[in-house]
Every structure is written in C-alpha cells, then in structure tokens.
C-alpha cells in the first residue's frame, strides 16, 4: 500500500458504513435497482412500439426502409467497443493502473462522441427528407400514419441519445477524478457504477438496432 499511497488519494468510508466492502456492495445494489428503474422507463416506449406495430404492420414495413442499416450497424459496433473499453477501465482501476484507466475511459468517451456524430448525421438525413418528428413531419409515403413510426423513432433514439450524453458527462467526471488519483484497487466505486450505467445504454441499443433498422 505504501507505494500506492504516493500516487492515490486514500478513500474515507462514509460514517454510516462499517467497511469499504459494505459501502461498495450497497452502492452496487442501489445502482442495480436504479438500472431496474431504467428498464421500466424504456419499456413503455417498447410497448408503444409493439402496439403500433400490431396496429399498422404495413406502415412499419414501409417505414424501416427509410432508415440506414449501415449507420445503425456502425453505431452498434461503436457502442460495443465502448462497452468493452469501459469494462477494461474498471479492470484497470481494480489493479490500480491509473494510466490505463484514464486511456480506456478516454476511448470510451471518444466512442460515445462518435456514436453521437453518426446519430447526428442520421438525424440530418431524416430531416432532409422531411421525416421530422410530429407536427413538422412532411415525409412522403404510401401510409397515412407513417409519422407515428418516426414519432417513435425519435422518442426512442432521442431518449437513448440523452442517456448517451449523460453518460458522456459522467465519463468526463470520472476522467477528472482519475487524473487526481482517486481510484485504485481499494476504491473504484464510481467507475464501477458509471460502467454499469454505460452497459445499460449499450443494452438498450442492442434492442433498438434490430427493432428499428432491421425488422420490417
């Protein structure tokens, strides 16, 4: 530990916990509970998706052709890689490798940024074709309820995008704290928590990709 002392800021266990172990487990339990909440939060949109898919199957078939599979695929891969680097960042913190933690977090952040750039390009392309959300929708199509698909599309990807942005904010916060040397083998709770959150964001996308882009 003495060697680590110079590099890292020692973590104080909060007064109402007995041990660092208990503190870590509690935080993780809380985070998982929060993730359960996130799942239900997204689920209503998926239910809406299922309902309208059932009501207007032909419209969905037509609508998904407006989306670019390549862009969706690219984004899936980008997010998977970011999940991997996030997991590696946690691992590096576990073994007190400050430099690697920092680099992996940075790569995760870059991937998240790439995801948002691709998303931005996709949105621009949709806007260009008049496939705007709701009242601004001027897209051409044979189905008269085509706007509903894009209503759902923008809600789902928009909400997911907001989660990515929040995740990016959290990763930046982690980067700063990593730089200060706050995370090491004895204390890396925030990295672990943000990691769990980030994987959930990935998980949601794993479902969004086939449902929106692939299955007509």
């Amino acid at each position: 530990m003495s060697e680590l002392d110079s590099k890292f800021i020692k973590h104080e266990v909060a007064h109402h916990f007995e041990s660092a172990e208990q503190e870590f487990d509690t935080a993780k339990l809380g985070m998982w509970t929060f993730l359960g909440q996130e799942l239900l939060f997204f689920s209503a949109l998926f239910v809406a998706y299922a309902v309208f898919r059932f009501l207007y199957p032909a419209m969905f078939l037509e609508a998904h052709r407006h989306l670019s599979v390549n862009m969706g695929f690219l984004n899936t891969i980008v997010l998977l890689i970011s999940s991997f680097t996030m997991a590696m960042a946690i691992r590096s913190a576990q073994v007190s490798n400050k430099k690697h933690t920092f680099i992996y977090l940075l790569v995760t952040l870059v991937c998240a940024g790439m995801f948002m750039v691709v998303k931005y390009m996709e949105y621009m392309e949709k806007f260009h074709h008049g496939l705007l959300p709701g009242r601004w929708f001027t897209g051409e199509g044979t189905s008269e309820v085509l706007h509903i698909f894009f209503g759902l599309y923008f809600c789902l990807t928009g909400l997911h995008g907001i989660h990515v942005l929040i995740g990016m904010g959290l990763i930046i916060w982690l980067l700063i704290r990593t730089q200060k040397g706050e995370f090491y083998s004895e204390y890396y709770t925030p990295v672990e928590m943000v990691g769990l959150y980030w994987h959930l964001v990935d998980l949601v996308w794993i479902f969004l990709f086939p449902l929106l882009y692939l299955v007509g």
Binding site: H15, H16, L40
Partner: protein, 532 residues
C-alpha cells in the same frame, strides 16, 4: 476508531437555514418532507373546501365551469403528488427507517437530499402551473383532452414528472438501506413491519414510477410536437395512454396504502402490548400486494373500450389483491386478543382506519365486479370509494403516525384530550362528507359535474356540511400540535412503552441516532409473556 458521541439532539447540533437546506441527516430531511406534505395537504384541502362549497347549489355559485374544472384537477393533483404519495414513506420513512434498523443514516444520504430537492422542484412546477392557466384535465391527464386544452398541461405534467424521480430515488435508497444497513442480529424476520411495508413500497416506487415518467414525457412530446401516439386524430390510441397511466397509477395507490398498513402494525402492537399475530403473513402480504398491484391496472378501463377479454382478466386479478389486505386486517384484530389495550389517540386512528378502510375495501369489491362497475364507473360512488381508502385509510394512518411518533420526532407531548376530540370530529365529518356520495353515485350522479340535476341537491348539501366538520377537526389538530411545539411538556424517550429500536434512543434522537450501534437478539414485538 472510537470517537466522542455528541449527546445533543439533532436539532441543537447545528442551527440556521443552511443547516436544513443542505443537511445530509435523514431526520432533518424527514422533518422537511413532513412540513412540505402538510403544506401540500393544506393547499389541496383548500381546493376541496372550495369545491364542496360550490356544489352546495345545483347551479353555479361562485365558480365558472372552467374554474371548477381547474379546482378539482388541482385538488386531485396536489393531494396525490404533493401529499399522499410522499406523505408516509418520505416523511416518516426517512425519519424512522434508519432508527428502526438501528443505523446511522440511510444508505445514500446525498441522494436522499437530492430526492428532497427534486421533490421541491417538481412541486414548484406544479404550483407554478396554477398561475400559468391552471390545468383542467383531471389529475389523470387523459389524452386527447389534455392534448388540446389551452391550460398549462405541460407545466403541471413536468412537475409530476420531476416528482416521479424523487419518488424513484427514495425507493432506491430505502431498498439499499434495508438490504445493507441492518445491524448485527436483525434478520429479515426481525425487522419491524413498518420496514417491511416500506420495502414493498420501495419496490413499487422503483418499478412503477418510471412508467409514469415516460408516459408524462410522451404526453408532453405529443402536446408540443403531435407525434401521434396518443392523439386519435393522428392515428394514435388514447386508450394506450390510459394503459400507461394506470400501469403506474394503480400501483401508486398501493404506494400510498402500504406504508399506512405498516403504521397500523406498529400502532396495534404498541397500544395492545402484544406481539403481532401472524408476523410472516403480514410481511408476505405486503410483498404480495406489491406484486399483484401491478396486474390489476385494467380495472380502471372496464368501460373504456378495452377488450372484453382483458376486462375479464383484470377483474379476476383485482379480486386477488383484496385477499392480502383482508389477511392484514384479520391479523391486526387477532393481535388485540388478550392484549392490554390503551386507547390513546394514535390507537383511535387505528380503529378509525380499520372501520373506514373496510368500507373502502368492500366498495372496492363492488367496483371490481365487471357488471357493477359498468353502472358505477365515473360516478360519485367511485369518488366516495377512493376517498374511503385514500383518506379513510392513508390519512388516518398518517394522522396516527403523526400522533405516535410526534414525541420522538419533536421531543414534546401534545394535549391528549384535544387529540381524542379531534379524532372523533374527523371521523364523523369524514363520514358525513363521503357516505352520501355512495348513495348519490349509485343513483347515477356522475363525477366531475359542475352543475348537477337538482334532485341530487340534498346529498350535496349534507356532503358540504360534512366538509366543514372535517375542516374544524383538522384545524384542531393543527392548533394543539402548534401548541405542543411552543410549550408542550417534554416527552420521555419511550412514552408508549414500545419495543422497536427507534424508542431506544433519546427524544428527539441525537445526531448519530444511537450512542452505540444496538444489537438485536429477538423479534421487534416481543412484549412481556411472548413465547420465545
């Protein structure tokens, strides 16, 4: 690492505005919630009195149509979001949960403070909406009406959306606290039943509230952008909104009632000096209620155009949720057997709860039956039913909790005689207000009617007069509690002779709750003579 324990009460350790605004102490946060929900209750109550006054004549008295509609919406929204949902879990839950577990604080104190601030922010939006053209949709915000009315739907809905997060985070916090911070020796089945009730409430808060959040978010998006999910003129389905809304709002009534039931378990054991009858049944029934409550939301949609198959399914499941509630009531009554019953004011609220909640429950059976619901849906019968469960249930438990824990939280006693008189007034006033509503509802008086058929006049007059009796009762409670605050007699540490851990510390508790972490060797209610 031993350190000197500060023996002053948590009020005295620090003073000033900031010592409250940014405190991490669960006790202070609990007190702040208590004050907030009481303000919410007062505000909602004023709307209720105004509504009842308006209805004393069949025609317009002093409110225009729109103003009446706005008033009942605000009465509902404020009572639900600002009072009933946070009432017991956020105020007493926050204050008592760590004390009952013998812990120093909740698991995430900073998150706890954040929940409170989020709650205030949401409340601010809801109150702000009153001034921006008060919302007139009914607290259920049904689409498509809410999509087209010119009142401040977005502002009010945004307020409710934000408060939802406060509720979720409190739930997360409590679940983590109950899992991780139990002291040595306190196994799951040695926890007080109020803690079990809070645990099942938290499950509901975490799993149901997000659906409300996304529903309200979609409603806002729909209103601003017309994306066509709920708006039938754009191909959407308004009944889908009802499904989404009630997926939360039905479990929400159990978010309200479960902690109330937890309070009942505490009251009955303390004032009967009896170990609880059927501890495990009561604990499991809390969890059962939490789970089944997710399966019954469709009983709000029996006449909405939901398919008959779905109605049948939801009706069947609805009857199942009645069973665990019945089990609890029977167990509480059985707990009184051979007890040593001291009918102090908190116990009177227990009695009031049982009587009123039974009426609410029985009429719930009536409304759960498909054929009867067709006739009674959206009439005053429903209004009376949910006031019997929510007001007769939750509010009685809330008042019971206030009277029971007041000495612990404030450190002062109140005037017992006035408390008893107020309790009688409230129960009588309550019945005068709401019982006639059963009758007129069954006769066909629809709810949310500003002007009504003169043949219902007499029922409404009785109801309005009752609301004044009720108001006098509440003012009395407020009076003697303020009197107690100012010059009440100092409360002993354990005025009722309870056995749960919160009574083992001083009144009011010290900053760190206990001088040393208590260790637990037996169940929470092992009064003298308990079988070991």
């Amino acid at each position: 690492m031993e350190h000197e324990v500060d023996k002053r009460s948590f009020y005295e350790v620090k003073k000033g505005f900031m010592s409250w605004a940014i405190t991490l102490d669960h006790k202070r946060i609990g007190i702040m919630y208590l004050v907030s929900v009481l303000i919410g209750f007062g505000l909602g109550g004023l709307f209720a009195l105004a509504l009842r006054l308006e209805l004393i004549t069949p025609d317009k008295l002093f409110m225009a149509d729109k103003m009446y509609n706005q008033s009942f919406t605000l009465h509902g929204a404020i009572m639900v979001f600002l009072f009933i949902i946070p009432s017991i879990p956020a105020s007493f839950g926050n204050f008592m949960l760590p004390l009952m577990l013998g812990a120093k604080d909740v698991a995430f104190p900073r998150l706890n403070l954040a929940s409170f601030h989020i709650f205030l922010l949401g409340a601010a939006f809801l109150v702000l909406s009153i001034f921006l053209g008060a919302v007139d949709t009914g607290w259920t915000f049904y689409a498509p009406y809410s999509l087209h009315t010119d009142t401040s739907v977005v502002c009010a809905v945004f307020g409710a959306f934000i408060m939802g997060f406060s509720s979720i985070l409190t739930g997360v916090n409590f679940i983590a606290t109950i899992h991780s911070l139990r002291p040595p020796g306190m196994t799951w089945f040695r926890m007080p039943l109020f803690v079990w009730a809070l645990y099942s409430t938290s499950i509901l808060q975490v799993l149901a509230t997000p659906v409300l959040g996304i529903t309200l978010l979609l409603l806002m998006v729909e209103r601003v952008m017309n994306i066509g999910i709920f708006d039938p003129s754009l191909g959407g389905d308004p009944v889908l909104f009802e499904h989404f809304f009630w997926f939360y709002s039905h479990p929400a009534v159990y978010i309200m009632i479960l902690p109330a039931m937890g309070v009942m378990s505490e009251l009955v054991t303390t004032f009967c000096r009896r170990n609880i009858f059927g501890y495990k049944y009561i604990a499991y029934s809390s969890i059962a209620i939490a789970v089944i409550s997710f399966l019954v939301w469709g009983h709000h949609l029996f006449v909405s155009g939901q398919s008959d198959f779905a109605s049948m399914l939801f009706s069947l499941l609805t009857f199942l949720v009645a069973i665990p509630s019945a089990i609890k009531i029977f167990n509480w009554i059985a707990t009184m057997y051979k007890g040593s019953i001291d009918a102090k004011s908190p116990f009177l609220y227990f009695v009031a709860f049982i009587l009123l909640f039974c009426i609410g429950g029985f009429t719930g059976i009536v409304l759960g039956s498909l054929s009867l619901d067709v006739n009674l849906h959206d009439t005053y019968f429903v209004v009376a039913h949910f006031h019997y469960t929510m007001m007769g249930g939750v509010l009685m438990a809330f008042l019971g909790a206030v009277h029971y824990w007041w000495p612990k939280m404030i450190g002062k006693m109140y005037n017992e005689l006035l408390a008893k008189i107020a309790c009688f007034l409230i129960v009588i006033g309550f019945n005068v207000v709401f019982f006639p509503q059963f009758l007129m509802g069954a006769k066909g008086m629809p709810r949310r009617y500003h002007v009504y058929d003169p043949e219902f006049h007499v029922y409404h007059v009785i109801s309005t007069v009752g609301s004044w009796i009720l108001a006098v009762g509440f003012i009395m409670v407020l009076y003697y509690l303020i009197q107690s605050l100012r010059n009440g007699e100092k409360a002993p540490d354990n005025p009722w002779g309870s056995l749960t851990l919160e009574w083992k510390t001083t009144s009011p508790p010290i900053l760190e709750n206990f001088e040393s972490t208590p260790s637990v060797t037996c169940g929470p209610y092992e009064y003298k003579g308990s079988p070991s």
